[in-house]
Symmetry: C2
Subunit: 353 residues, 2 copies
């Protein structure tokens, strides 16, 4: 009944040491290429390691020093924006000694907190958290223990680094685009700010204020409306239905995430409305799906890959101790116009009914 007895015996540093006729300390030094080994010994030890096919035992390493593992937290693998970020991280870390492990925790704050703790408990050397919804206090306390980079939230901190996109600017780009096409009833569909998690400047929040500002800039503050929806197909679908069947259906909707935009698309389709003829639709993230032939969604590109690479680079600096003061990087978004936006219908009504 005991956990399936390990069948094979691992090669340990002691085996290597014996095989090479040196001390384990020497082997360890070679392993970490630390100071105090002659070239000759280097050679001998390396040979022994190769011969025995030695691989360091990460758990044992974790007890004292590094564990050479970087943890990534994401809520949702399905959002392919995260895949872009991940690609960036992977590229950056590919030739290093670090292994990247992903915790896909779902949207729940509790699950996320649990996952973050798990990673810290596994002695990971560093963490990259993508728009965590777990309480900020939680993140702060974890970051006190393990170097951390937060992607997405604009709240700065002196304990973690962050990489954000200028979401406010992005919102402006979209509003400008839609207004220039002639739209005035432009609704923003964005995620509900993570309730009592104490993040003040979530991507959604910044996006919203950017949107409101831009609307005001065009003298459209009266038309501004923000609707909450989860960033998922279903979330978008529900928000879409509510909006289009409401008593002041907008001529254009901008969504805070491509996934949600597709849900809105589905809602519109079900109601017999066509995009863009009856409704202009703009996404966010410029995910691969947005570019799909059949979809052709106007969206805002955030250079996810670059964000990921930057985050990874920043994290490693911290892990290796080459930098000790926190920093924040901001990326500039870019509007990608496709076929889901066009001028509103001629009989563009300002009032309802």
């Amino acid at each position: 009944m005991d956990a399936a007895a390990k069948r094979a015996k691992r090669v340990t540093i002691t085996d290597v040491a014996r095989h090479a006729g040196v001390s384990t300390a020497a082997v360890s030094k070679v392993l970490r290429n630390a100071y105090g080994v002659s070239p000759a010994m280097q050679e001998r030890v390396r040979a022994a390691m190769a011969e025995l096919d030695y691989r360091p035992h990460a758990a044992a390493r974790g007890m004292r020093g590094r564990t050479y593992t970087i943890g990534i937290l994401l809520d949702n693998i399905r959002n392919s924006f995260f895949a872009d970020i991940l690609d960036g991280i992977r590229d950056e870390l590919h030739d290093s000694d670090y292994t990247v492990l992903i915790g896909a925790a779902g949207f729940g704050a509790d699950d996320q907190a649990r996952t973050i703790r798990s990673m810290v408990d596994r002695q990971m050397d560093g963490l990259i958290l993508v728009a965590p919804s777990s309480p900020r206090s939680e993140v702060l306390s974890m970051a006190a223990t393990t170097p951390t980079v937060v992607i997405g939230h604009h709240d700065e901190s002196d304990v973690y680094d962050s990489v954000v996109d200028a979401d406010g600017v992005g919102a402006g780009l979209v509003v400008d685009h839609l207004v220039s096409l002639g739209h005035r009833d432009i609704v923003l569909v964005a995620a509900h700010g993570t309730r009592n998690s104490r993040w003040r400047r979530t991507p959604e929040a910044v996006l919203s204020s950017g949107y409101l500002e831009a609307m005001a800039r065009h003298g459209l503050e009266g038309h501004a409306r923000v609707v909450q929806a989860a960033y998922s197909d279903d979330g978008g679908y529900k928000a879409g239905l509510r909006l289009m069947t409401g008593d002041r259906p907008p001529t254009a909707i901008m969504s805070g995430a491509d996934v949600a935009a597709l849900g809105i698309y589905r809602a519109a389709d079900e109601l017999g409305m066509r995009v863009p003829a009856d409704l202009s639709l703009v996404g966010y993230n410029n995910t691969a799906i947005a570019a799909l032939t059949a979809v052709q969604l106007t969206s805002v590109d955030q250079a996810g890959q670059t964000m990921g690479a930057t985050a990874a680079r920043m994290l490693i600096e911290r892990v290796e101790g080459t930098r000790d003061r926190p920093m924040q990087t901001t990326m500039t978004p870019r509007l990608v116009v496709r076929r889901s936006t066009t001028a509103p219908r001629a009989e563009e009504g300002s009032g309802p009914h």
Copy 2:
């Protein structure tokens, strides 16, 4: 210059023991709810743990027993079929003590092998490998050390468990459907078998033979053609272009993965062909994108979520030692007809030119 000195001190089992006035052995027993602790002691220890906010140090655990971590290997997070599998795994393991960590290794056999080794080195309790392309020998040797479930490959083994889909049957469903619509020039686009990795019955291979068999069953062996392509948007795109501009353009294409089907879609679009009027297109996996309003791709559902849940359950049985003989589970696929397939054009030519 030394790695950012850990700022906070961890609460250890020793702290808990001292605080509760008992031995560390006792605390450990409570932790693992092992035999030999009175309810009174249980109580006291649990209280102490709560009070100090104790969390076990996974690396230390890894040195002796379990590490309560399950590793998942995927080549590509972008393929949302994997997200379905993952959801299944997560659901199954959500209320257990296990943490799920994902290694996204890319398509390369070397990278995958590296990632698998990483996971084993991190003393993970069990591994779920989704259609690994790293050599079978490699997988076998790792599975000798760590309980492993392989998803996808049909090759059985006495050392790992596996969960597969009856891909041959799935191919048959598609061919039957297309033939019943009147198609005869049906091409299969599938991934290149992982070169010299010694997997004989990869999903692609089984799919191919199922396809060939079904074509033969309909007396269409003369029309059967299999084209290789990577399971990615780009892979599908290239294969699509090649096929449609070749000298015997098919009236229907079936792809081994939805992602690739979308690439084919793009190629067709660029060539001015419409789906399904000019080309019937069938995917595989029944990914969420297939269901997208704008896409409406006929596809084969594999119940990824169920596959994931099953794999997780099987793995845990092995990890906890409740089962010691290998097993293989096969799922039955189901055809989902959408709008990307229809009868071929009237002037359906059998010959080229």
